[in-house]
Subunit: 250 residues, 2 copies
DNA sequence: CAGTGGTCTAGACCACACT
DNA sequence: GTGTGGTCTAGACCACTGC
């Protein structure tokens, strides 16, 4: 296997399994194996990279820990998807006060807006774009049991999402991240959220059917694809009268 | 090593490393090695349990992933603490809008109340106690740069925290969880948080120096020690005008 | 049955920290 | 140098899945 550590890396020593991980990551990014598909077996990869099975195993272990792949004993290792039931709400931490995540079935979606516009300085910065770059702006309301729960403003860089329409967003069966994966080959791997409490504006209160100035959870999310490239900015306003944001600390 | 799987476990097969993990966990809980101390080397543990070093390694790997221990190459494996700078704010996700977690130095603490009382049905349920059981109730305000940021109500089961005083809480240099560890031998390992947006009550607004009805982040935390035993209920009211709750999704 | 991931071992060697 | 955790290998066997 390659012995030389990746150039420009701070540590003077890069473990072999880490190099293998990078290679697998590159194949994933290149689309050699698509979301939902099985990747080659550990033995195959070991042969391909000329290392032992244990080394490949450790590389895949890390990818699995990061939720980039799923291991299934007896079946193989699969490229992770936003489609799977278990992770239907992988990035949605709002859960009903009684019951479990997803117990209310899929959210009812209403697309209010889907237009092409130009990135403000603020939006551009968060998406690592330049001010004025083309972006898609989407506004939608998610409801559970016919009660609106989430108002979301979404910004996407226009280039990778060329052709995205409100109809697609409204009709696709599954989370929007699954749509992005399937139709635009954009995989969201990780996201950061900044959370605040804010009073509902006049407009927000109407859309969420609450009184003006009702405190809302304001969730600003930046979602990243490979190489920590930001690919989505989402500003969500959550009603928390019947739901709450759930988080586990370790 | 023990070959029989743990009784009452659903899976008919329990891996050896998992059994070893349980044994190490028991030693940790029994206080055989205290927070901050080093545990025996992998070779020593392997000899003790009559398994290979690799098996012990995998057990410790999982404990390290759960933040119960820290591995330090060349030095040893240490029982995790709430004292360490890196994890000074292990359970505090409120960070300043500009700057990094902890960049403002330690929070200024003001203990408003520390009294012994009886658990209401609601509190008892969350702490797995019985209604009317003795609990300690603490109220405090945390400030950064002399600006109050967090109002917290804390409930602790009275028995394990017998002797806890407001003075201790006010004067202990470090997070309260470090105090609990050092003085009461109670280690908080994990916590669940439910987050909502609520309007500041009259009382809360005065203590946090904001206008009444200002939206606050309401964070209800249940912290757990070994065996998922709840040992603390904390209801925090966070100002989010200069800080935000930060979370990473994977 | 064959093929996959999962466990376990034994041994060699490397990187790091302390003395 | 000695002892620690970290890496890597080769091989054996186990558990699960699907043909």
């Amino acid at each position: 296997m390659a012995i030389s550590p990746d150039a420009l890396d701070a540590p003077s020593f890069t473990p072999l399994y880490s190099q293998i991980k990078t290679l697998i990551l590159q194949s994933l990014q290149a689309g050699e194996w698509k979301p939902g598909e099985v990747i080659p077996s550990e033995m195959d990869l070991a042969a391909r990279y000329r290392v032992s099975q244990g080394t490949v195993r450790k590389a895949i272990d890390e990818l699995a820990a990061e939720n980039l792949v799923n291991r299934r004993q007896g079946k193989g290792t699969f490229v992770a998807t936003h489609e799977e039931k278990q992770v239907q709400f992988r990035f949605l931490k709002l859960v009903p006060d009684d019951g479990k995540p997803g117990s209310e079935g899929p959210a009812e979606r209403q697309i209010l807006e889907c237009k092409k516009t130009r990135a403000s300085a603020e939006i551009a910065k968060l998406l690592s774009l330049r001010t004025g770059d083309a972006v898609l702006q989407i506004r939608r309301v998610l409801a559970f049991k016919h009660i609106p729960a989430i108002l979301e403003d979404i910004w996407l860089p226009a280039a990778p999402f060329k052709g995205l329409t409100a109809e697609q967003l409204a009709n696709y069966p599954g989370p929007s991240y699954a749509l992005f994966e399937t139709e635009f080959n954009v995989r969201m791997l990780r996201a950061d959220e900044k959370i605040r409490a804010l009073p509902a504006s006049n407009e927000q209160s109407k859309l969420l059917k609450v009184e003006q100035s009702t405190p809302l959870l304001f969730v600003e999310r930046v979602a990243y694809t490979y190489r920590d490239t930001p690919m989505e900015l989402r500003r969500g306003y959550y009603r928390t009268d019947t739901h709450h944001y759930f988080n586990t600390l370790n």
